[in-house]
Symmetry: D2
Subunit: 413 residues, 4 copies
């Protein structure tokens, strides 16, 4: 293979152009009305008829245009896009609140669908994957628990015990993103299935739990800087004697980590791609504000350090995008171990850059910036979660450092 092509492929260009236009002309304008509807009829955890109309309308249009399930890497059912190609689309989707869902490319569903595709039995695919691929239901991924440090995933403690043809689950999960959505039908759950004969990283399993299973209680939504993110929601759930068929266990006992690792690579980078789109949107708003608003007889752009701030934001975005594309390209080369430190790198960089750019855009907007009148504050709180989700920064920096030091030593690190 000659070189490292990080540009847009010719085949992607027309698709990209369609996505750009649909995000800008149809989805962005719909966002505001959709968000204003939340809780309008008294329940923040259901969709109003108007919300359904907006969202499903967008989905139907996208699907009719063939703009659907871009993340699918096989070319039979999907476009067979490379990760690099997907990055260009994901960036655009990141610019609008309903961007990803319109094209059935939302987190955590894309990751969950990949899990079902790779590790699910035929009946799982039929029952859960099929409707997910069609955007008829949604899903959640239950990993984190309130009582343990999830940065070290071997801490996951939810009990899962075999009882005849069933497994019985007990414990709590939180930050179950999307579990607030009334359409969320299926949970993929990391559980502890201890077995003294297996090593430390084979003490956990992944199991499917329908959201309406007896014994599952939604304790509360976790709020993000005060925002409950309804109706999506990051739920705190309690499992009390939750019983599911033994066949719901994916692959086999002890395979939890193997499945999680496979899931996390693409999931992490998709978040990063969208974060870069959010950063671009924030810079755009910042520049427009800087040119429109006046104080002390000048445009804001011409005051103080604003040129420098704008320049810094542009430079950081460019670097983050290139790093993201490089990480995507590494994934496309097929060597997961070689790609891992690149994913860690972008997992650290993209949220921080997007947070910084968004924060500067907020500051340039004054009181409006922190308010509901721009998408900036909402974007910021979402981006802030990404410094913790799928591993906090510190863990990823550690991975990057170890990869670096291993070039020079064979001793353990």
């Amino acid at each position: 293979m000659d070189g490292m092509n990080l540009g847009m492929s010719d085949r992607l260009k027309p698709v990209h152009e369609q996505v750009v236009r649909m995000v800008r002309d149809e989805i962005m304008p719909a966002d505001e009305e959709f968000l204003a509807e939340i809780g309008r009829d008294g329940d923040r955890w259901s969709y109003t008829p108007r919300q359904t109309e907006i969202l499903e309308g967008l989905k139907v249009k996208a699907r009719e245009r063939g703009l659907w399930n871009f993340w699918l890497t096989d070319s039979e059912r999907g476009y067979g896009l490379t990760t690099v190609e997907y990055a260009y689309l994901a960036e655009e989707m990141g610019k609008a609140h309903l961007g990803a869902e319109t094209f059935n490319c939302s987190a955590p569903d894309t990751g969950n669908m990949e899990v079902l595709e790779r590790y699910g039995a035929d009946e799982h695919k039929e029952r859960w994957l099929a409707p997910l691929l069609e955007g008829r239901i949604r899903s959640a991924y239950l990993m984190t628990e309130p009582d343990v440090a999830s940065s070290d995933a071997t801490n996951v403690a939810m009990r899962c015990e075999r009882d005849g043809d069933s497994y019985v689950l007990n414990g709590e999960k939180w930050w179950a993103s999307g579990a607030g959505d009334p359409r969320c039908a299926i949970y993929i759950v990391m559980v502890r299935t201890p077995d003294g004969s297996r090593p430390k990283h084979e003490q956990h399993s992944m199991i499917l739990v329908p959201s309406d299973t007896h014994g599952v209680t939604k304790l509360r939504p976790m709020t993000v800087y005060g925002d409950d993110d309804a109706p999506h929601g990051h739920m705190h759930l309690r499992f009390e004697n939750v019983r599911v068929p033994a066949s719901n266990l994916l692959v086999g006992e002890g395979q939890g980590f193997a499945i999680a690792q496979g899931r996390l690579g693409p999931g992490r980078i998709h978040h990063c791609m969208r974060a870069i789109g959010q950063a671009e949107r924030a810079l755009e708003l910042m520049c427009q504000r800087a040119l429109r608003r006046e104080a002390f007889g000048k445009r804001l752009a011409e005051l103080g350090a604003n040129y420098d701030i704008i320049a810094e934001c542009r430079m950081e975005i460019e670097m983050a995008r290139l790093l993201c594309l490089k990480a995507a390209w590494m994934m496309d080369q097929g060597d997961r171990r070689a790609a891992a430190p690149w994913i860690s790198q972008i997992k650290v960089v993209a949220p921080q850059v997007a947070l910084k750019v968004t924060d500067e855009a907020i500051q340039m907007h004054g009181g409006q910036g922190i308010s509901q009148d721009t998408p900036l504050a909402r974007a910021w709180t979402h981006l802030r979660t990404l410094r913790l989700a799928d591993g906090p920064d510190a863990v990823h920096r550690r991975q990057v450092a170890r990869a670096e030091l291993r070039k020079y030593t064979q001793q353990p690190l």
Copy 2:
């Protein structure tokens, strides 16, 4: 005078000790229940009986103990504390949600009471200052407007026209902090009273508007990163032909800026003192978490850069506190012009340091940090507003730079 005493005076120590204990032992434990009550009976903009009981209970206790109106600088009715002395108390109050209000030292009331004290007529004092001093009503300060850059206060545009014995006000104000509170009875409003015969900084006036005046509409609460801060609230208000007696105008037409400047010095620094208290609280939570939580077989404290993070936070807090005390001391010297750049300095530094420390504390707490389960996320959003309130960072940095450069030139800057 010999030297620059930034320490706690002997007379302050017993008072300080009482405040420390009351904040820690009585107010902090009450915060959580108080906050959980918001909106419990369906209306986020009123107090539940339990909330009233908690808050008024604390106030009664504080007042009985003589811990009340510390900000009052005259020694007849108050303690006659210096600004330096007040700083030590304000820091403690900043550590709890109900800290300042318990001792009748809340923003924006302290600033507003000072305005009424210095510039109010006797009838204003009787009607508004007296109940404010007793904590029976609350107040708001209406400055910022949605359509103009308030960083340049000469932009303030709300019309205020004389009509017989009245003034008639028309326009919009937003970020009227505290105007959501049902107890908020009086607004101090910056308005435009143009007069071609006066210079640019004498085109504005300050006028009192009772909150129940006909023509005042609460359009909506502004949210701060999604949080409406109910029932305090940062309200967006519309004034349509709001008519008040001409005697409600403070001092005289054209005196708006003079009054605002007098108000802002203490107001700004009180925010900074409390911000430092919030930073201390965040560092305390961070350390406790670092010692309590384990991952990879170690306490968090011993992982990665956490020692360095804790050290950096400690150093930045110490420096911010000292700078705040120095600014307070400058104010105590009585030369407002000399003190101004010091207030600008701490106005830039304190929120940024407190935001940084709080952000690191949040990161150390993982998902819990961004959630409702610690005071950290709420503190962060409040602190973030301080980088904009009473002048954005950029304006204050500009003031500091100009003061510096004026040492070397007499040309205009």
Copy 3:
């Protein structure tokens, strides 16, 4: 064209491999001896026989292997490399003190040779370009002056007056890099040739001045943090009635800026590419030190924030390299105006990243780091000059901001 290939081309790989090996195995080991020879026989501004032997020996080897003049973009005399391809080689050359010169790719000669190639008359090419291409002489580029702010190049003030068939130059230049070298035979000089009939950017010209012309005085070497960089040298020169043939003027009066702009693009990016190589070298030394040195019973790598520091350095280098490659790729597309903001971006980023990485490497080395015992301190001072050379950071950030804002306005910026 399909995409944006930032990788190494297949044709480049064997050349790159040869350069990597020669830098690592032959040039790096020679650096130390070469540097230790400076001033050994009492004159810091000449080469000792051993220095000549080392340097010329390396050049002969490189040329015999065909590793010569990589910067030449035409494929007749050179490799016809793209800027992207050149970047990969320049990075390697940056790792050793004699790296660039060994392959006849030194600054400022490459830029000067391009000027002669594009704008020189045949006689200029014969007399100056030919020996430069063969590495027999060296050259300097005289732009900056002590009495004016060169960030605004219209300030350049050296007088250049026509007198019959000659031009006569008077004034001072400083930071004439390479003018200390006894082999430096030719200066390309920016001068002021005022003409009231031409616009502001056509008041300057570029003229060739042999270094031995009567009236040229080397006043002194400018030191960089105390280092005179002998025998290369950054000289402060005085021109008193320096007379050269009128034919030495390049292209025509008033073309100075046009020539300078053409020169600066490649020159700037070559500096950046080498800076990234220096950063890589510094990170390598840092990691080796972190693994080798012990304190408090542990390897330095395992102490404090060192993992995080190493990770940050790795991430910043990757981003800077990608941005540099992107800027190179933009230049290869042939639209100089479109490429300009990209060159400004990397001109800001590359030195800062390389300085940061080098500074961290120095800190990890303790006292050794700031001393003559590693290449780090020398690298740092060189890199520090790059934040000023060819335009200070502030000017380039301004260019980036203006390019950004122009997307949204057609008003002047």
Copy 4:
């Protein structure tokens, strides 16, 4: 004691005023000529007659005026200044190259004199302390060694073996600051005197070695970013069978650490005070340049982010100074253990702030800034050494973090 007085005492003011004036009017103007003389008569490691004249002339004047040995904390022979008072003087001394030495307050002599005063025998005082107090000789402190990580001082390895009435020393020391000075007559040397019966921190001793003792070889000056700092010098020394009388050992075997700790507190903070003076000087030069120099038709002050840069520098200096004064005040309280984390804090902060301010001043000066034409580049390299001298930043941050965490735990850290 009431409060924490960080201001200038009344008794200090006239002295301070004299020091300010002498530094500004006599020492600063002399600096330039003094520095230009270095190496003028062919030997960088001796003083030219003119240098001697300048330096001794200043010393005589200072001493005649009673401006001498301010660091002496007893009020019989000195002023009996508090550390806070000394800080105000040290800041002024830091502004000029010859500032500290003029008043006999140079590093490392002040620290060495304190060692001799506290731990020296009468004969040591007579032979070494007396001439040091009079500024007739100078001294060096030999701690760091090339082969071990000195951040962990238990690594110090120079052998010191008893042989009859003598000790015999073997090994190497480097970064012996001041050992290049021909007047340097005495070394205080940390050596290893192993004794299996004593704990880890009692394996070292401190011993006096006259600089002309047989067996001492000056291998070379260590350079700091290429600068040899002649004739002061940071020397690399070899000790081969260096024999001194057994009575030269201070206090007793195993007391090395105890002595070093006592020495380091004041030594560290004196460096910090002077660093703040250097930062003030840099900011002054920055502002003057910003007002004097023009580009693009404006003063530099009005371009780009320069206002913000100036403001940031002012704020950081104020905070660093206050922290330094607080640390000094803590030392004055007499509890060394309580003061230790404060010294660590300012040891981290002061050099970093001064480096940052100096770097910004350099950038504002363009090429002139990095050159010999301002004191900035020289200041920068000196300040950079302070991030390593007397413990690298990382070690001090670690101390600060441990002090913080110990508030919440009694477990080992």
